[in-house]
């Protein structure tokens, strides 16, 4: 009896080992496959996915106020709703390459101004209607209308005109943009019948699952869309999201097996949790970054030396170790990391340097009055502690920081993008151009560091029209240097996405574009 048990445990251990190495192998294979533009099921040679069962996900980041209108999604649960119900034109794969979904292929004119998306035939919406290029056009129009309140409005602004041409949708831009296909992967841009004009929140999409129960802030259940076009995805009979905003309750739910996957594991407990039986803690480096932002046009931050002094006065490694408990990587005062295509890793890493910080602080001629840094726990998890660490390391260089704690409630409307120096969070974007255009271009609405640099803007526009990757990379590294030395961004760390995944879930992939495999866990995993 005892021997049998020991054997069984050994076998389980062995299986675990297999699965880990299996995951690594599939991840490596996935990278290669996706680069070739192939979309076959990853790891198909290792195991055939089991069909059936219900996947239960315990998700933080949902409210009773959530809408099914894909345009209004702004937190985690609506993101997952969009990803589960909807189907985008294109998607960004784990390695940063483009993956074709509703669009079958993409062509552009040599000047990168007009883009043609060939629309896949035989895709069916949940209401039985066949998806047509007109639906695609109507969707894109709804998000780019003058009176649109879509979260994707900003990225649609550059579009001059759109039209249907046979089985193609042609998009013409005012200025060239080599990255346009990537912009179409935005998670708000889910194709809806007639663009969702009649009722944007009816929850009808073309994704692998259709919504059955919609109780915002409580639970959402889905059932497999029988006529989903992609046979390699969507292995479950149904999916259930249970909204669990309390971190402790979420972890208890995954530990007691009531949910298979829990998102947003607190880095502070990730190591403890990984010792719990029956689950694995998965982490993947993402593009999201925790930052402190200074307004470059507001005193005293309009002084380049003072900005540099503060940049040298922060201990990035300590932040990663203490705030993220190692689940992350250090930043380099630019919003870009190695996860982005065309990233230039030759930019020297800025380290904590008391002498240089003191030197620049002295050169800035600051009067020695305390510099107010506003923080709130809602800016990013651990922001208040990070502020305290920053205060300590800055004090060592003789720079007086005053930490002002703000309420979470109203932080994004009253403090961020209003106060000259505060903690913030950026979720990252699929490509460098989009990240820079969103927050560092002089004319950007969310230029939250008030970085106005004509040369930088010119390089950004030039890079958009540049189709040759080598040259684009060069342009991007020039911009990185400018921002690194002159910008108002202090970027101490990039955080990992950390999730707890029950051992029953097979087929997990590392995908750091967004959390929980970029929202594809219901599509690509299956139950053992």
């Amino acid at each position: 009896m005892k021997d049998d048990l020991a054997k069984l445990i050994d076998r389980i251990d062995a299986m675990r080992m297999d699965r880990r190495s299996f995951l690594n192998r599939t991840a490596a294979f996935g990278a290669v496959a996706a680069m070739g533009g192939a979309t076959q099921a990853l790891g198909a040679s290792h195991a055939t996915p089991n069909k059936g069962g219900i996947l239960k996900m315990g998700l933080g980041g949902g409210e009773s106020t959530n809408s099914l209108d894909p345009a209004l999604a702004a937190s985690q649960v609506p993101f997952h709703l969009n990803r589960t119900i909807g189907e985008p034109l294109v998607d960004v794969a784990a390695d940063g390459s483009l993956e074709m979904r509703i669009a079958e292929s993409i062509e552009s004119t040599p000047d990168a101004k007009t883009w043609m998306f060939k629309i896949r035939q035989g895709v069916e919406f949940h209401n039985g209607k066949t998806l047509t290029p007109d639906d695609v056009l109507a969707t894109l129009q709804r998000h780019s209308d003058k009176d649109s309140s879509s979260g994707a409005f900003g990225i649609m602004e550059g579009i001059e005109s759109m039209k249907v041409d046979g089985d193609m949708v042609a998009v013409t831009l005012a200025t060239a943009n080599a990255d346009l296909p990537y912009l179409m992967a935005d998670y708000h841009l889910m194709i809806q019948p007639d663009g969702g004009r009649a009722d944007p929140a009816d929850g009808i999409g073309a994704g692998a699952y259709k919504i059955i129960v919609n109780e915002p802030g409580v639970r959402h259940t889905f059932e497999k869309h029988a006529n989903y076009w992609d046979q390699s995805r969507g292995h479950y009979d149904g999916v259930e999201f249970i909204v669990i905003n309390d971190a402790t309750a979420r972890m208890a739910a995954v530990q007691s097996g009531q949910v298979h996957i829990a998102n947003r594991v607190d880095p502070k407990i990730a190591k403890l949790l990984s010792r719990a039986p029956g689950l694995t803690v998965q982490n993947v480096s993402g593009r999201g970054h925790y930052v402190f932002i200074m307004h470059c046009d507001t005193a005293p931050f309009d002084n380049k030396d003072l900005r540099l002094a503060l940049k040298y006065a922060i201990n990035r490694q300590e932040m990663v170790d203490k705030i993220l408990d190692g689940y992350g990587s250090i930043g380099n005062d630019i919003p870009i990391n190695a996860a982005y295509p065309l990233f230039d890793d030759s930019l020297p890493q800025r380290d904590y340097d008391v002498a240089k910080a003191a030197e620049h602080y002295k050169a800035s001629g600051h009067d020695g009055s305390p510099i107010v840094l506003r923080v709130a726990e809602g800016a990013f998890p651990g922001a208040v502690d990070a502020g305290a660490l920053f205060q300590q390391t800055a004090a060592a260089a003789g720079i007086p920081l005053e930490i002002k704690r703000e309420p979470n409630d109203g932080y994004w409307s009253e403090v961020w993008n209003k106060q000259p120096f505060c903690a913030s969070y950026w979720g990252g974007r699929p490509v460098q151009d989009q990240m820079y255009s969103t927050a560092y271009l002089s004319t950007a609405d969310w230029n939250d560091t008030r970085f106005f640099n004509a040369d930088f803007d010119a390089l950004l526009i030039e890079a958009r029209a540049e189709l040759e990757p080598g040259k684009r990379k060069e342009l991007y590294s020039k911009m990185a240097v400018m921002l690194h030395d002159d910008g108002g961004l202090i970027c101490p760390m990039f955080n990992d996405f950390i999730e707890a995944v029950g051992d029953k879930v097979i087929g997990w992939e590392k995908n750091g574009v967004q959390e929980v495999m970029n929202g594809l866990a219901p599509h690509k995993t299956w139950l053992a």
């Binding site: 009773s64 106020t65 097996g257 969070y425």
Partner: protein, 318 residues
């Protein structure tokens, strides 16, 4: 007219006036909060254009006073409107949440109220001896521990370690009553522990107060059993303060359990209200506020009436 009916009518009228005042206060409160619903919906992703578009769409450009009176007239006609954030009908979505809240509260109350009174009676019966000490200490301890901590302790032992009860108390339509009761077992345990102490101690104190009376001494001299004296002679005269504290705790079970709801992921009114406050969804906040105020006013009314009915001197005024 019977004085009790007059009193009830007066109280009801006063209650309606209070409700109106509460709705004004809540509306003012939501206007003072920084940011508006458009900003909260769009969050970090707000741009000036999308903000303006959304405000237009939601009718936020009207002056606050106009919006309040529009809301008031619609409400008086029984139309609570739709949520600004997700367009759901407030009456039906709040009704569901209210049903859940009342379900949880009543199950907790059905267990807690008799238990608290019984324990109070026992504590008086053995006043100063070990059963009294044990009951007083334990209930004082459970009422002193913050409810979320009680919740986490219960989750750790009952869900994660021994897996007796589910840690998620999510209930939904289509569950059988048995399933629902099983799902809410953990929050019920925690809520019972939280409200037990207050009610039990009040019962004990009220009865002890009466126990000093001459008629209790007479009963003792008659040779009645101690417990009979407490239950039959002392308790009826202590009922007014006990009912008061019971009503207060019932009101707490309905309006004050948001922390327990969050810990056990229970879809009640508390979480619903908090979500909409943080999104500045004024119509929903107003509706929830009205319901909560009505519950408080109603339960207090019940407490007063019971106090009158329990007291012959008030029941039959000269």
């Amino acid at each position: 007219m019977h004085p009790v009916i007059t009193l009830v009518a007066q109280r009801l009228a006063l209650g309606l006036l209070l409700l109106l005042a509460a709705s004004v206060l809540i509306f003012i409160g939501t206007q003072i909060l920084p940011g508006d619903v458009a900003q909260s919906i769009l969050g970090q992703g707000a741009t000036p254009e999308t903000l303006a578009n959304l405000r237009e769409e939601l009718g936020l450009n009207e002056p606050a006073v106009t919006r309040y009176f529009n809301w008031l007239f619609a409400t008086l006609q029984g139309d609570l409107g739709t949520a600004l954030t997700n367009g759901q009908d407030i009456a039906s979505s709040m009704g569901k949440r209210l049903g859940n809240t009342l379900f949880l509260a009543s199950v907790a109350a059905i267990i807690a109220v008799p238990l608290a009174i019984l324990l109070g009676l026992i504590a008086v019966r053995y006043q100063g001896r070990w059963p009294d000490r044990v009951i007083s200490t334990v209930t004082l301890a459970t009422v002193s521990v913050p409810e979320f901590l009680l919740g986490y302790i219960a989750i750790y032992f009952l869900s994660v370690k021994f897996r007796v009860f589910p840690s998620l108390a999510t209930v939904y339509d289509g569950m059988s009553l048995g399933d629902k009761l099983y799902a809410i077992s953990m929050p019920v345990v925690v809520l019972v522990l939280v409200v037990l102490g207050h009610m039990m101690r009040m019962t004990r104190a009220a009865i002890l107060n009466v126990m000093q009376s001459a008629y209790v001494e007479t009963a003792e001299l008659k040779g009645l059993r101690k417990f009979t004296i407490i239950a039959r002679h002392a308790f009826p005269n202590a009922i007014a303060p006990v009912v008061n504290v019971v009503m207060l705790n019932l009101a707490y079970l309905v309006v004050g359990v948001v922390v327990v709801e969050v810990v056990f992921v229970y879809p009640g009114m508390g979480q619903y209200l908090v979500d909409h406050v943080s999104k500045r969804d004024v119509p929903v906040v107003q509706a929830c506020g009205l319901v909560f105020a009505a519950v408080y006013i109603g339960l207090n009314l019940v407490a007063d009436i019971v106090a009158i009915l329990a007291n012959p001197r008030l029941r039959h005024p000269k």
